[in-house]
Subunit: 138 residues, 4 copies
């Protein structure tokens, strides 16, 4: 059972398209917002990770769209950890509309750990421990 | 064997992020560019579809990231049809760098047919036939 | 003296570019966030405006960039009204970094009131009064 | 009289908003596409500039919106040089719809020359000469 971290955001006009709903690629941006906040809540910011020379590059992403978000909706992104590996981490996301808890999108992204030249590398042990503790929190 | 339709685009500065490469969500936008061009090449524009009251809403999307695209790269999006259903269609994409044909991203999106109120509906038969012919072209 | 309404946001990775800073066009999106929140704080949401058939289309925009915002910075958008017209409204924005109040961008956007067909129209008097009261608040 | 360089692009679904037209901030992205192509046509790519340690950061931007672009429109961005300075350059843009030459947006951006640390610096003389020749071409 992973910690589930929740962050709220409000849908921007810029994020809608002419169908009147949020353009589908933007949900991946919201996943990034959720992931960033999850990592920060675990004890270190992703910016600090990068300053120590560790980047996280998305290697796989998948999304299922259940219902559309609309302009000005208040949104909750619920992020949890599915798996921690020596060279990467997988996050799960559930994106819901805040006012009625309707599930809008479920998503998963796998990230690999890279050094500043873009090569895969192992997590420093403190980061890995931090993520494992978040994964095992209840 | 589906028709494979290729469209070229050049990476915009706006599409990069501070890792120096294209931000991952933007590849979904390029898939949309490929899909739009595929549909147009099949005989009707997606804009005309919408004018006849048929929209295509993305219901599932998945991407695998093999190598990053960089600013100013010339990119080829190769789009084909995986499946045509009465109420939807699934597209496959291979995104390559034009100058060395390196595979950057493979992706799949499933779309459902909706009416102007957002409800699922069946393809008009002429659209469905058009897509099936593209799917069966060699 | 207009009311100055402040909204906070955190810089998303998606908003940066390969120069390592926020891509300049994204500040206009933050102005929209500021404006939306200003209008909501004045007593009606922009979504409700649109539901009553009144849209606001940007007719002019200008920005001066003083210093760059960076990934994960906490940002404050300070929005005020410069002018209310029968068929439009002009907003001023100051975008600052929250932790040291450094001024990053100053901007102005003029908006015109349009009906659902895109034609210019006059503000309903209650909206106009609401905006004039915000403009005159101290 | 500056050289006027024209580049074409097609409006992406992602670039529209729920008003049914192109979201205003995206025109600045198209200006960047026009400017990049202008520079390339002058003899060096902006990517090569950056590889030589010279960046161009936008210091001011202004846009007037005359008519909206819509999904799938073919667009022409006409870019010219308004001014070359020792530490910067100003570009003018006219964005038109290709099928009827309707003027949609006029814009201007001023850019300053920066080194890799973000400090203002002078143009290398070959870049400056190149831009001056483009400015004086007829």
């Amino acid at each position: 059972m992973s910690l589930v971290h929740t962050v709220e955001l409000r849908v921007r006009y810029a994020e809608t398209d002419r169908m009147g709903v949020v353009y589908h690629a933007n949900y991946l941006v919201w996943c990034e917002v959720g992931r960033t906040d999850f990592i920060r809540a675990s004890g270190v910011s992703y910016r600090e990770m990068e300053e120590r020379g560790i980047g996280l590059a998305v290697s796989e992403a998948s999304m299922r769209f259940h219902a559309p978000a609309r302009y000005d909706d208040l949104i909750r992104v619920q992020t949890s950890i599915a798996e921690v590996r020596s060279r990467g981490v997988t996050f799960d996301y559930v994106i819901v509309r805040a006012d009625d808890d309707a599930r809008l999108v479920s998503a998963r992204t796998s990230l690999v750990t890279i050094d500043p030249t873009g090569r895969m590398t192992a997590f420093p042990s403190d980061f890995r421990t931090m993520l494992e503790q978040a994964r095992d929190a209840t």
